[in-house]
C-alpha cells in the first residue's frame, strides 16, 4: 500500500479512539492513521475510562466483560500498570435511579462482579453501589505509553492541530498534514472531541443529543473524597481523586446548574478553589445506549455515547468494523445504530434523569 493510503482514519483523542486505532492495526492488521491531539497530559480531563458502568442489559455486560479482558491483557502486555484498578461508587438519588442501580447490581453479581450496596451518612436517602476491582485507564498516559507499540503496528499518528480532515459521503477521508495529503478508505469519528470537530449538528443521527459539559480540576478539599471514583447518576457529576493533588470532575447537563450540582457532591464547608476548567460538548443518547453507526447522509462511522466504558469496548469495535465480529457481537451492534431502526428501543440502557 502506498505511504499515504490507509484502510482507516480514526479521528479522536479519547482513550477509546487511541485503543481502537491500536487494535485495528495490531489485531486486525489494517493500516491506520490516528488523528488526535498531542497528549501532554496537562489538558483538563473530559472523560474517565472505567471497565464498568451501571449497565442493565445482560448482553452488554457479557460483551463488556470479554472485551475488557482483552483490552486489559493487550495493554498489560505493552506496559505494566497502564491499566489500574479502582473501586467505583455509583450514587443514585432518585427512586427510579436507585432501581436502575439495583438492576445493575443483580446483573453484576451474576457476572461475578463484586457489587455491594453501601451506606453513605452524608446521603442517607441515596442508593450507593460499590463495585470493587474495576479496571481503569488514565487517558493522559495512554498515548505516550502506546506510542512505540502503535508505531510498530504501523499506526501513523497525526497531530489534530496540524491536520485538515475532509470527510466524503462514501465514508472515506482525505487528510492534509503539513501540505501532504493522505487518504483513508473509512473514516471513524470517535468520541466527543472528534464529533465536535469534524461533524456538523446536521450530520448526527437524531438519537444523539449534544449536552453542555465541563471538566474541572479542583484543589484538594479539606475533606478529601471518601472514595477514589464516584459517579453521581442523578447529578450528572463524576469525580476522581488524584491523590493529594486534587479532584478531577466531569459534569454534564445544564450549565445553569453545573456548579450547584458539582458543589452538592463535595462535603464543602468553604468554597473550593478551581485549578482549571474546560467547557465542551458531550454527545449522549436519550436511551442510554451507545451509538455506533453512520453519519446522517454519509458513511463515515460515528462512535459515541459509551460513557465510562468505551475504551474497554475497543476490541469488539475493531472486530465489528473489520467485519469479523462474533454472532453475539454483531447482534449487539446491530441494535445500536441509527434511530431509524426500530430495534434501537431494544438497546436502551439505564440513563440518568435530565438536569
Amino acid at each position: 500500500m502506498a505511504d499515504n493510503a490507509y484502510d482507516f482514519a480514526v479521528l479522536g483523542s479519547s482513550a477509546q479512539a487511541v485503543i481502537l486505532a491500536a487494535f485495528l492495526a495490531s489485531q486486525q492488521r489494517r493500516s491506520v492513521v490516528l488523528v488526535a491531539e498531542a497528549a501532554s497530559g496537562f489538558r483538563i480531563r473530559r472523560a474517565f475510562d472505567l471497565g464498568m458502568a451501571p449497565l442493565t442489559r445482560p448482553e452488554t455486560m457479557s460483551l463488556l466483560r470479554r472485551s475488557s479482558s482483552e483490552t486489559v491483557s493487550a495493554l498489560d502486555a505493552v506496559a505494566k500498570g497502564l491499566v489500574g484498578r479502582t473501586t467505583a461508587h455509583f450514587v443514585a438519588d432518585l427512586p427510579t435511579s436507585r432501581d436502575g442501580l439495583m438492576h445493575f447490581r443483580q446483573l453484576a453479581r451474576l457476572s461475578g462482579i463484586q457489587a455491594d450496596v453501601v451506606g453513605d451518612r452524608a446521603l442517607p436517602a441515596a442508593g450507593v453501589l460499590r463495585v470493587r476491582d474495576v479496571p481503569v485507564i488514565d487517558a493522559r498516559t495512554l498515548l505516550p505509553a502506546l506510542a512505540a507499540m502503535m508505531a510498530g503496528a504501523g499506526v501513523r499518528r497525526l497531530d489534530a492541530a496540524e491536520t485538515a480532515v475532509s470527510l466524503k459521503r462514501d465514508g472515506s477521508a482525505r487528510l492534509t498534514h503539513k501540505g501532504l495529503a493522505a487518504e483513508a478508505r473509512q473514516a471513524i469519528v470517535v468520541g466527543d472531541d472528534a464529533i465536535a470537530t469534524y461533524l456538523s449538528p446536521e450530520a448526527l443521527d437524531r438519537s444523539l443529543v449534544a449536552l453542555p459539559a465541563s471538566g474541572q480540576f479542583l484543589a484538594p478539599a479539606k475533606v478529601p473524597l471518601a472514595d477514589p471514583f464516584v459517579s453521581y447518576l442523578d447529578r450528572g457529576a463524576t469525580l476522581v481523586a488524584e491523590g493529594r493533588a486534587g479532584i478531577h470532575a466531569v459534569v454534564t447537563g445544564s450549565t445553569d446548574t453545573q456548579d450547584q450540582r458539582l458543589g452538592s457532591t463535595l462535603r464543602l464547608d468553604a468554597p473550593l478553589r478551581r485549578a482549571g476548567a474546560a467547557q465542551f460538548t458531550s454527545y449522549a443518547t436519550m436511551d442510554g445506549a451507545p451509538y455506533v453507526g453512520p453519519v446522517k447522509g454519509g458513511r463515515a462511522l460515528v462512535i459515541a455515547g459509551f460513557g465510562l466504558y468505551g475504551a474497554f469496548m475497543a476490541p469488539a469495535l475493531a472486530r465489528m468494523i473489520c467485519g469479523v465480529a462474533s454472532t453475539d457481537e454483531s447482534a449487539w451492534f446491530a441494535v445500536r445504530g441509527s434511530s431509524r431502526s426500530a430495534t434501537r428501543a431494544l438497546a436502551a440502557e439505564f440513563t440518568r434523569a435530565a438536569a
Binding site: E37, A38, S40, G41, F42, R43, I44, T56, R57, P58, E59, D93, L94, P95, T96, D99, G100, L101, M102, H103, F104, R105, Q106, L107, R109, L110, R140, D159, A161, E162, A219, P220, K222, P224, D234, R235, G243, R244, A245, D259, Q260, R261, G263, S264, L268, P271, L272, R273, R274, A275, G276, A277, A278, D287, G288, A345, L346, F350, T351, A353
Partner: protein, 654 residues
C-alpha cells in the same frame, strides 16, 4: 529590625528609592516583629529592606519573599476579608499586621501548632508559613462585590508607555479614559529596559506621555490598582488606598466601551534547583525594587543572564555601591553596548555559562554552581559564593486578562514566549504584552490600538531594534539538567503556583510562565499551548458548597425503558408471592429453575418491591406459569428464592 537591605538615599541612578520620603520614617508590626521603613514603602518593600527575605517553607526549603510571591496581609484585629497584597499595601506607621498563611492543605500543621512553633521554635521572624502544593491564600477581593462603579469610553490596563500612549490618543479625541496601574506610579518597566539610540531617555519619554494625557478628554489614572477580571463589557479591579490612616482595598467595576490591555511582560524564571531560595531574585524586580524603594538584598551580587538588559542593572548597582562579583551570560561571546560599559567598569564577565544549581550556605548566603550552557552534559564548570543571585530570565507577555477576554495565544519560538494571536471585539493587546520590544513600537502600538478601537484610522506599527551585530539576541531560558529528582526544587515560575514540572497532576492553576517553561522543557507540545493556557491559567470563581438535589421525575411507567425487549415481545406484569415470606428487591432476576444463573436465561425481573411489611413483589415475566403451584425462582445476592405468580396485571406492550 534594621534596614539591612536599604541602599543609601543618595545612591546613584535613583537607586535610593524614588518613591520614598526619607524624611518620614515609620514603624509597623508584621507578625509580631517591628519593621522600619519610610513613607512610600509598601509592606513588601519595607519587609525586604528589613531583611525579611523568606515567605515561608515549601517541601522543607525556604521560599523567597519577592514581588511575585508574597503573602496577603491584614490588620491583626480585622478579618481575612480585608486582606491586601503585600506589594500594594502601603506601609503605615503604627500598623499591626499579620501575614496570611496559604489555604490549608491536609498536610498543613494546625494553626495552634504554627502559633506554638512561632513562639517557642528556633526559627524566629515573620512569615513562617508552610506552603503545600496549593497556591497561597485566596485573594478575598476576587469574590467581593464591587463597591464603586465607573464608566469609561476606554479602559487601559497598565500605565506603562504603551498604556499611556493609548490613553493619550483617546484623550486627544475627547474620550473618557480610565487607566488601571498596579504599581504605585505610572511608567511600567520603562526605566529597566531603557531606550535605544535615537529614542528619548526614559524620564523624558515618560514626561512627554504624561503631558500627552492633558487633552480634550478626561484621563483618570488609578494606581495601586490591579485589574483582575474582564468580560461582558466590564473590567473589574482591586484598588488599595488609605482611608482614615488605614490601608483598605476596594473593588471597582468599570463599564468599558473598549479595553486596551497594556500589561507588559514579566520575567520568567530560569530553571535550576534552588531557583527560589531567599537571595535568588529576578533582574526586573531587583531593578525596580532599588529604583522605587532603595531595596537591594545583601552586599555581594552575582548576575546570571540570558540577555543584555541585566548588564545595565549591574552597572547601576555597582555605581550605587554594591559589590558586583560577576556577570555570567548564557550566550557565548555576546555583544551589547551594556556589556562594553561593564567591561569598562571592571566588573568580571563570563559567557557561555548558566546556573546549574544554587544551595544555601551556613552564613545565610548562596553557593552558585555554573555549567557550560552549550553542553548537553552540563558538567560543573565553576561556582561562587554570594549573597544575592540575580537570575535574569526571558520575558513572557502578561496575558491573563487577554485570555480571560477570550483571546487566544500561540507559542512564538523566536521569542521563547507565549504571545497573543487573533482578535477580540473591543479589546486590544499592546506594547510588550503584544510582543513589541522597542519604545518606539510599544508607544506606536498603544496609540494605534486606541485609535482603532475608537473607530479612527490607525497607523501601522513597525519595530525598531538594534541590529544583531551590535546587540546579541536573548538566549532561550536555561534549564538545568539537575532540575528533576534533586533534593532542592527547581520551580518553573516565580509566583504562587509552585509548579516544578512534576507532571500534569500538579494541584492548582498553572501560570503562563509555568506553561512557557514547560514548553521549553518539552513537557508541553506547542500545539497544546492555547488550550492549556485557556484551561489552566484563567482566574475562576471558587466552587461553593451547595445543597442542590435532583427533583423527582414524574414517571407512571412501572417498567423502565432499559427492560424493553428483555423478556420477549409481550411480557406480563405479575404479582409474585414468596412462600418464605420474603420481599424481593427490584432488579432481582427470575429463572424457571433454581440451578440457572446466566442472566441471559432469565425469564423476568422484579420491577417493584412490595409495600412495606409485605413479601413478594411485582415482576415483569415472559410467559409466566399458568398456575400458582408452579414455582419460579428469584435470584438475588447469590441465593434463589421460590416464588409464585398470584396475579397477572396485563402486558406492558414493550
Amino acid at each position: 529590625m534594621t534596614q539591612v537591605n536599604r541602599l543609601a538615599a543618595d545612591a546613584a541612578h535613583g537607586f535610593g528609592g524614588t518613591l520614598l520620603r526619607r524624611d518620614r520614617p515609620l514603624r509597623f508590626r508584621l507578625d509580631g516583629e517591628w519593621v522600619e521603613g519610610f513613607d512610600g514603602d509598601t509592606v513588601l518593600s519595607a519587609a525586604l529592606a528589613n531583611g525579611i527575605v523568606s515567605a515561608g517553607r515549601h517541601e522543607g526549603h525556604p521560599l523567597a519573599l519577592t514581588a511575585e510571591f508574597a503573602p496577603l496581609v491584614r490588620q491583626r484585629t480585622d478579618d481575612d476579608s480585608t486582606a491586601l497584597p503585600a506589594g500594594r499595601a502601603p506601609a503605615l506607621d503604627g500598623a499591626d499586621l499579620v501575614s496570611l498563611p496559604p489555604d490549608r492543605s491536609t498536610t498543613d500543621v494546625p494553626g495552634w501548632l504554627s502559633a506554638l512553633k512561632r513562639r517557642f521554635g528556633r526559627q524566629r521572624g515573620p512569615m513562617l508559613h508552610r506552603f503545600g502544593d496549593t497556591a497561597s491564600a485566596s485573594a478575598p477581593w476576587l469574590a467581593a462585590t464591587p463597591s464603586e462603579t465607573l464608566t469609561a469610553d476606554l479602559v487601559v490596563v497598565g500605565a506603562g508607555i504603551a498604556g499611556l500612549a493609548a490613553a493619550g490618543a483617546a484623550a486627544a479625541l475627547g474620550k473618557r479614559v480610565i487607566v488601571l496601574e498596579r504599581r504605585q506610579t505610572p511608567g511600567g518597566l520603562l526605566h529597566y529596559f531603557g531606550s535605544i539610540e535615537g529614542e528619548d531617555g526614559p524620564d523624558t519619554l515618560l514626561q512627554t506621555l504624561i503631558k500627552g494625557l492633558e487633552g480634550r478628554g478626561s484621563v483618570r489614572i488609578e494606581t495601586s490598582t490591579e485589574a483582575f477580571r474582564i468580560g461582558g463589557g466590564k473590567v473589574v479591579a482591586h484598588r488599595v488606598g488609605t482611608t482614615n490612616g488605614r490601608a483598605a482595598g476596594q473593588v471597582l467595576e468599570i463599564e468599558a466601551g473598549a479595553v486596551v490591555i497594556a500589561t507588559g511582560s514579566s520575567e520568567r524564571l530560569p530553571i535550576f534547583p534552588g531557583n527560589r531560595l531567599p537571595g535568588v531574585v529576578g533582574a526586573i524586580s531587583t531593578f525596580m525594587g532599588a529604583l522605587d524603594h532603595g531595596v537591594w538584598l545583601g552586599r555581594r551580587t552575582t548576575v546570571a543572564t540570558p540577555n543584555s538588559h541585566a548588564y545595565r542593572l549591574a552597572i547601576y548597582a555597582a555605581d550605587a555601591g554594591q559589590s558586583m562579583q560577576r556577570i555570567v551570560d548564557a550566550r557565548l561571546a555576546p555583544h551589547s553596548r551594556f556589556i562594553d560599559f561593564c567591561k569598562a567598569s571592571g566588573i568580571t564577565l563570563a559567557s557561555g555559562l548558566m546556573v546549574s544549581e544554587v544551595t544555601s550556605t551556613k552564613d545565610a548566603g548562596l553557593q552558585v554552581a555554573f555549567t557550560a550552557s552549550s553542553s548537553a552534559a552540563q558538567q560543573p564548570a565553576s561556582s561562587i559564593a554570594t549573597d544575592t543571585l540575580v537570575a535574569a530570565g526571558n520575558f513572557q507577555p502578561e496575558l491573563g486578562l487577554w485570555v480571560a477576554a477570550g483571546g487566544e495565544v500561540v507559542w512564538a519560538a523566536t521569542d521563547h514566549a507565549i504571545v497573543p494571536v487573533g482578535g477580540r471585539d473591543g479589546v486590544r493587546v499592546v506594547g510588550a504584552a503584544a510582543g513589541w520590544r522597542s519604545n518606539t513600537a510599544v508607544i506606536a502600538s498603544g496609540r494605534a490600538a486606541a485609535l482603532e478601537l475608537l473607530g479612527k484610522t490607525a497607523p501601522s506599527v513597525s519595530e525598531r531594534l538594534v541590529p544583531i551585530q551590535f546587540e546579541t539576541p536573548d538566549a532561550p531560558a536555561s534549564i538545568s539538567a539537575n532540575r528533576s529528582g534533586g533534593r532542592i526544587i527547581a520551580y518553573f515560575d516565580r509566583g504562587a503556583t509552585l509548579f516544578a514540572g512534576s507532571g500534569p497532576g500538579h494541584a492548582g492553576p498553572l501560570s503562563l510562565g509555568d506553561i512557557a517553561a514547560a514548553v521549553a522543557a518539552d513537557l508541553i507540545p506547542v500545539s497544546e499551548v492555547n488550550a492549556i493556557v485557556r484551561e489552566r491559567t484563567a482566574e475562576m470563581p471558587e466552587l461553593a458548597p451547595s445543597t442542590w438535589a435532583p427533583a423527582p421525575v414524574a414517571n407512571d411507567d412501572v417498567v423502565p425503558p432499559y427492560l424493553a425487549g428483555r423478556f420477549g415481545p409481550k411480557p406480563l406484569l405479575c404479582k409474585l408471592a414468596a412462600p418464605d415470606a420474603k420481599p424481593f428487591s427490584p432488579g432481582s432476576l427470575i429463572f424457571r429453575t433454581h440451578e440457572v444463573s446466566d442472566a441471559s436465561s432469565a425469564i423476568g425481573v422484579i420491577v417493584a418491591a412490595p409495600p412495606p411489611g409485605e413479601s413478594g413483589g411485582i415482576a415483569l415475566v415472559a410467559d409466566p406459569p399458568e398456575t400458582p403451584e408452579v414455582l419460579i425462582f428469584v435470584k438475588e445476592t447469590g441465593s434463589a428464592s421460590p416464588a409464585r405468580v398470584v396475579e397477572r396485571r396485563g402486558t406492558t406492550g414493550n
